[in-house]
Amino acid sequence: MGGKPACTLGEVKNRADLIIYWGGNPAECHPRHFTKYTLTPKGKFTPNGRKDRTMVLVDIRETPSARAADIFLQIRPGRDFEVLTALRAIIKDQPVDPERVAQTGLTLDQLRDLAGRMKRARFGVMFFGMGLTMTRGKYMNSSAILTLAAELNAFTKFIAMPMRGHGNVTGADTVLRWTTGYPFGVCFNRGYPRYNPGEFSTIDLLVRGDVDAVLVVGADPAATMPQPAIEHLKRVPTIVLDPKVSTTMRIARVGILTAATGISAGGTVYRMDEVPIPLRPALRSPYPTDEEVLRRIRQTLAARTDE
């Protein structure tokens, strides 16, 4: 079984000489990643910055991130799992069928070259994006890349971590874990936390029409979720807290504008590597913070229950 070999981003800055982005486009989606953490910074054991590092990009199309890469490997859509599995075999000197490799859009030589670089690296890291985790194979792809990284530790130091984004999603996941034991998809309808992705995850609940009210905080599901989920958001009372009029707020029964976190509201965000960062607001907002609105809703509800 694999695992989750991870590190904080400073380890990458200080040590990584092989950086692989897989199914992600950091140049456009995480524009500070190259300069703050992975490519250009001069770290403790990477004194020459970019010159000390090799970057590989694995993706289905040549995104702007390819310009930053030393090696770009373009694979056919939906073939990530096969490529990862072939790499796992190659690093262990197991035979691999070149014809099946060819179906992935890459050649066996390309994979051997990559596997060799992985094993020779002093400190290798793979960052994987939604091009891997949300395409054919989904969590099996995540499992494959994490297992590959775990197995590479038999040869050298190797890390794999997801390129998370969307505001403070890592913070939400972190707090839910310490309060309930689970990272997302938690159901309280029996009075204690239960977890079952597919049953209690948001899209599934909405598509099945299982919920009769929705509170959305700092997210814009109507912009990204499938149409049947959006239809249900329109059917039930949906309340949205957001610093701007989002797509979801437009279809919601109630929209409350709140102060923008990090600009006019303080708090703590968890970076993608789970390092907590305090936020100090630079501006004042005429709007209340999310926290204040939620607290007032809760107080009002509690007062009504008491009556």
């Binding site: 694999g2 590190c7 904080t8 040590r15 953490y37 400190f123």
Partner: protein
Amino acid sequence: MGRAMLRIQGGKVYDPVHGLDGVRRDVCVADGRIVADVSGGRVIDATGMVVLPGGVDIHTHIAGAAINFAREMIPEDHRRAVALTRTPVRRAGIGGVTPSTFATGYMYASMGWTTIFEAAVPVLTAKHTHEELRDTPIVDKGCYLLIGNNEIVMDLLEAEDYERARHVVAWLVWAAKAYGLKAVNPGGVAAWKWGQNVKGLFEPVPGYQRVTPARLIAALAQIAEDLSLPHPLHLHCNQLGLPGNFATTLETMKLLEGRRAHLAHLQFHAYGGEDWSTFRSEAPRIAEYLNDHPNLTADAGAILFGDTVTVTADGPWQYLLYQLTGHKWGNMDIENETGCGIVPYAYRERSLVNAVQWAVGLELLLLVQDPWRIFLTTDHPNGGAFWRYPEIIRLLMDADYRRERLKALSPKVLKRIVLPDIDREYTLSEIVIITSAGPARALGLSQKGHLGVGADADIVIYDEHPDPGRMFGRPRYVIKAGEVVVEDGEIQKTVSGREFIVRPAYDETIEAFLQPLFEHYYTVSFANYPVELERIHSAEVYSWEEAVRQ
């Protein structure tokens, strides 16, 4: 404070600090502390019951990035765990081997433990640890800063700049809002950043010429003393878990001669044999050394059979455990400071190694003569969940029960352990020492671990029962800071505990030295690095700068 007064009357009081060994007397409480007498207020009739100071856990993993990583790794355990449903006085949660934070507070309190110390905190993620500690109700708490693999400190020791290293360590303790210093596999976790480990105590750490584990240990123990920290260096020795590691443990203890230190989860460091097939107990030799050296204290880190998850900063050991077991493996290296590994694990009675480990934990507790220097822990959750402490108490107090349990072990195991030859049975007073009075003293918490006038009114009352496992499993009353929080084993009221923090003396100009290094090595800004004091609710700060001046 105006909290209600309370009189506990008719109970048999066990308070080893004051030499009370089952003496029938009243215990009075006002404003959250023990007082000589009260008039009025609630009266608890404790006839037929025993009255003890609340338990103190000197080494547990209950808050922060590492245990929260473990929670993420084992949803399968949560599913079979005890579910805590929401009531008017408590929040929902789950139990199991990594309880959610609120459940952790309720479960410790429901067992009679009222003070707990999180044993492993990096500065970089200390904000997270304190957030979780704040969400751990009822109990008082504190945490130890991981310092044994801090590269800035190691670089200073390489340059033989002990003086500056001391100021940096002091600054870091305050930055983390920690209570003490913890070293885990000193040098080994730093080596793991390149996929390596240290070999022995006297070979340099990879990347260094002068810094060896031995030098690190000696320097850090000295720093803890020079800073007048209330708790000495809290040490997780090198070579944890490995056959034959008792030799390293003995060498480490010799290095510490003339200095105070606390040896964490000693069970994991007391093994003989050359490999897994010749694995055996060396508890008698470790216990003998400890008996002769009063500068040292230790906690047991006993194991219990069953499923759990291992959580430690000892990254290289966890990688080995992953390879040995083939279970899931989580790893989290923290830039410049430390590491972390997670591997779910099951201790099996039929496994020779696990059976020896089970015996070693008990042997250490029984062979160390002075109960003031060995404390009850399971290194939660590594050896077993904290809520299983009553099982260990029964094994310590009842030699017949121990013999019964030994019958289940293979005869091969019996040749490798000494437990069958030990007849000692703990008295109730001795149990109070290893679970409360002793750890409180080792922590320098003079208001904990006893029932004298002025002590915090953290009191646990059990129905007297011939089976200590049953007795300790379900207190009749638990009183925290003078408030009755548990009755008949059930939470009645949720109060919030305090956090103990130490502010050691340091030269303020150390920040000018640290900031440029920091900007080079780290990925968060220097201003965002320390934990803000405002983040902590009910902080109780021990300023040792002032203590030394007075």
